[in-house]
Point group: C2
Chain length 355, copies 2
C-alpha cells in the first residue's frame, strides 16, 4: 500500500481519500433497545433501554431521546463538555431527519445533517473525518439512529397491523451509535482508560456512488444494497492497490444473509475473494432463529451500534488491526416505492486501524 505524507495528495484513485493526519476516535457510545440487548452483541452496548418508548409519547420522540442519549454518553465517555464538540454530523431514516434534529437541538452544537439511508454511519464518519483532517475542527461527533417501530411506520406498516414479513425481510435495529473524532483521547477520560495505549484511527475513506440494479423488492433490501457494497469495496481495494487480505475484516452494514451471499459472488466476479474475512453487522446483531429476525438486522443503528459497541472493542484488543467498515443504504421512500421506482443502494467505506 502506498504511504502518503502530508505533502502528497490526499486523493487516492477515483473515489478515495488517504488522510495526512488520520483522525482518531476519542469517544464513542452505543444505546440499544431490549431486543438488541438480548442478542449476541448485547454485552457490548453501553446502554440497553427496556422501554421501547424511551419514556416518550411517540416512536419519533423515542428515537430522538435515544439519539440524544448516545450523544450524551459519548461526550461523557470522552471526558468532554458539549461545547468541546465543534460540529455534529448526523442523520437518520425518518423523513426530514426529525429524529436527529429534535434529538440534538438541546446540545446547541452546529449541525451538518446527512442522509445516506442505512449507510449514514459511514457517511457521517466520512464527513466528520474530513473536517478533522482538513483542520476545520478539533473535534466532531458523528451519529445516527434507527428505531424498529418508527421505521416500520415510516417505510412499511404500522405495528398494530401485525403483518407477516417475508423471509428476505430484515428487522430494523433500535439503536443509536455515536463516535467522537479528534486528535487524541482526553487524558483520564473513560475512553482513554479503556482504550489506552491503543489508538483507533480513520486512515482513509471511499465515498460511494449510487448503484441501481433495478431491483424493486423493498422487502429484500440485502439484494438492493449488495451491488453498491460490491462497488465501494472493489473501488477501495483498487484505489489503494490492496487485496482483501489487507483487512482483518471487511464489515458491511446490514446486507443480511441474502445480501451477504450476493456480495461475495459479485466481488468474486471482479476477482476479489472476501469470503474468509467478510462480516455483516446485520447478521451479527441478532440470533435470527431465536429472535425471529429473518434475513438479519438493518437500519442506521445496526452498523452504528455494532461499530461503537463491538468492532471498536475488537480493534482495541487488537483481535483485528485493520477493518474496512462499509455501511450500506437502500435509497427508497414510500413515495418512490409506490410510484414504481427501483431501490438503488449506496455504501461508504471507512478504513479503521489500530495504532
Amino acid at each position: 500500500m502506498t504511504q502518503t505524507t502530508a505533502k502528497q495528495s490526499k486523493m487516492v484513485g477515483k473515489q478515495s481519500v488517504q488522510f495526512s493526519n488520520p483522525p482518531a476516535i476519542i469517544g464513542c457510545a452505543s444505546v440499544a433497545g431490549q431486543k438488541e440487548g438480548e442478542g449476541p452483541l448485547g454485552a457490548f452496548f453501553d446502554v440497553i433501554e427496556e422501554d421501547p418508548m424511551f419514556g416518550q409519547k411517540t416512536w419519533e420522540e423515542a428515537e430522538s431521546k435515544m439519539l440524544g442519549m448516545a450523544v450524551d454518553v459519548a461526550i461523557h465517555n470522552a471526558g468532554l463538555k458539549k461545547s468541546d464538540i465543534r460540529y455534529l454530523v448526523g442523520g437518520d431514516l425518518l423523513g426530514q431527519l426529525i429524529a436527529t434534529s429534535f434529538g440534538i437541538e438541546n446540545f446547541e452544537i452546529p449541525l451538518i445533517g446527512v442522509y445516506g439511508a442505512c449507510s449514514t454511519m459511514g457517511e457521517s464518519i466520512v464527513v466528520a473525518s474530513m473536517i478533522i483532517d482538513g483542520g476545520f475542527a478539533d473535534r466532531t461527533l458523528a451519529i445516527t439512529s434507527s428505531h424498529f417501530a418508527g421505521a416500520e411506520k415510516q417505510f412499511r406498516f404500522p405495528l398494530a397491523y401485525g403483518n407477516q414479513r417475508p423471509k428476505a425481510a430484515s428487522w430494523t435495529v433500535t439503536g443509536s451509535g455515536a463516535v467522537i473524532l479528534g486528535h487524541e483521547p482526553e487524558k483520564d477520560s473513560e475512553f482513554a482508560k479503556q482504550f489506552s495505549p491503543v489508538m483507533i484511527k480513520v486512515k482513509g475513506i471511499t465515498i460511494g456512488k449510487i448503484v441501481d440494479y433495478g431491483i424493486k423488492d423493498s422487502l429484500n433490501m440485502g439484494a438492493c444494497m449488495a451491488p453498491a457494497a460490491c462497488e465501494t469495496i472493489a473501488q477501495n481495494l483498487k484505489d489503494f492497490s490492496i487485496q482483501p487480505d489487507y483487512y482483518d475484516r471487511i464489515i458491511t452494514g446490514d446486507l443480511g444473509m441474502i445480501g451477504k451471499d450476493i456480495l461475495i459472488d459479485l466481488l468474486k466476479e471482479k476477482g476479489y475473494d472476501i469470503s474468509s474475512n467478510h462480516m455483516d453487522c446485520g447478521i451479527e446483531i441478532f440470533d435470527s432463529e431465536a429472535q425471529d429476525t429473518h434475513a438479519g438486522g438493518s437500519g442506521c443503528g445496526c452498523s452504528a451500534i455494532t461499530l461503537t459497541g463491538y468492532i471498536l472493542q475488537k480493534l482495541r484488543k487488537r483481535d483485528w488491526n485493520r477493518v474496512l467498515f462499509v455501511p450500506t443504504g437502500a435509497l427508497l421512500s414510500t413515495v418512490s416505492y409506490n410510484e414504481g421506482q427501483s431501490v438503488p443502494g449506496i455504501a461508504h467505506a471507512v478504513m479503521l486501524e489500530s495504532c
Copy 2:
C-alpha cells in the same frame, strides 16, 4: 478582519472556518419553472421549463429530472465531463432525498447526501468547499432542488384540494441550482468566458445550530427560521470580528416579508443593523402582488437559483464584492407537525467574494 495564512488555524471563533486556499466557483447552473421564469429574476436563469412535469409521470420524477438538468448544465458550462467531478454534495426536501438520488444516479458521481431543509444550498456548499480546501478533491458539485407541487404534496395538501393559503405562507420555488467548486475555471469554458477576469471564491463559512423558539405554525416558516438566521449571521460577524457593512449584501434564503422583519429586529437586539444591506431570496424571486405568492418564495430551490442565476452575476459585475449567503431551513415533517412538535430552524452561512 483577520487575515489567515495557510499556516494559521482555519478555525475562526466558535462556529466558523476561514479557508486557507479558498475554493473558487468554476461552474454553475439554474433551472427554473415557468412561474419563476415569469418573476423579477426570470432573465437570469439558464433554463426555464414551461412543463411543470418536466416530461415525467410524477411530481417527484419531475423534480429529479430538473435536478439532473442542473447538474448537466453546470458540468457543460464549466467545460467539464461528469467524470471530472470527484464528489457530489446535495439533497432536497422530499423524504429520504428521493429527488436527489433518482436525479443523479445516472451521473455515477460519488454522493454525499445532505439535508438542511431549505438551508440545503448553504449546507452543500459548506461541505463541498471543505472538501476542496482540505485537499480531498479537485472539483465538487453542490446541488439542491425543490418543486412546488412535490413540496405541497410532501408537506401540506395535494394541489387538487385547492386549499386557501394564509398570508404568512410562502410559495415553494420550482427550481434547481448547482455550483461547481474547484481551484480555477477551465480555460475556454463558457463559465470562464462569462466570468473572467473575475473569480468568485468561498472565503469562509459558518455552520449553524438548530434554533427553536417554540413556534408551531408551519404556514409561517419565516417566523420559524428568522431566529436561526439571526444566530448564524451574528455568529459569523462575531467569529470574524466584523460589522454588517463588511458585506455588500447579507442574503437570507427564504424568510419572506414576515421573517425579514423579525430577522432585522432580532439582530438589532444583538447590536447589529443589517436593514440597509439585507436581501432575502424569497422576496426577490417573485412579485408577491402580481404572482399571488403571499409572504414570498421558499424551498431549497429558492436560494439555490437566486444564487446561481442572480447573485453570482452581481458578484461577477462587481456590483457587489462581498456577499454573506445564508440559506435558511425549517426543520419539520408532517409527522413532527402532526405530533405537535415545534418548527425549529437552521441556517448556514457562506462568505462569497469577488477577486
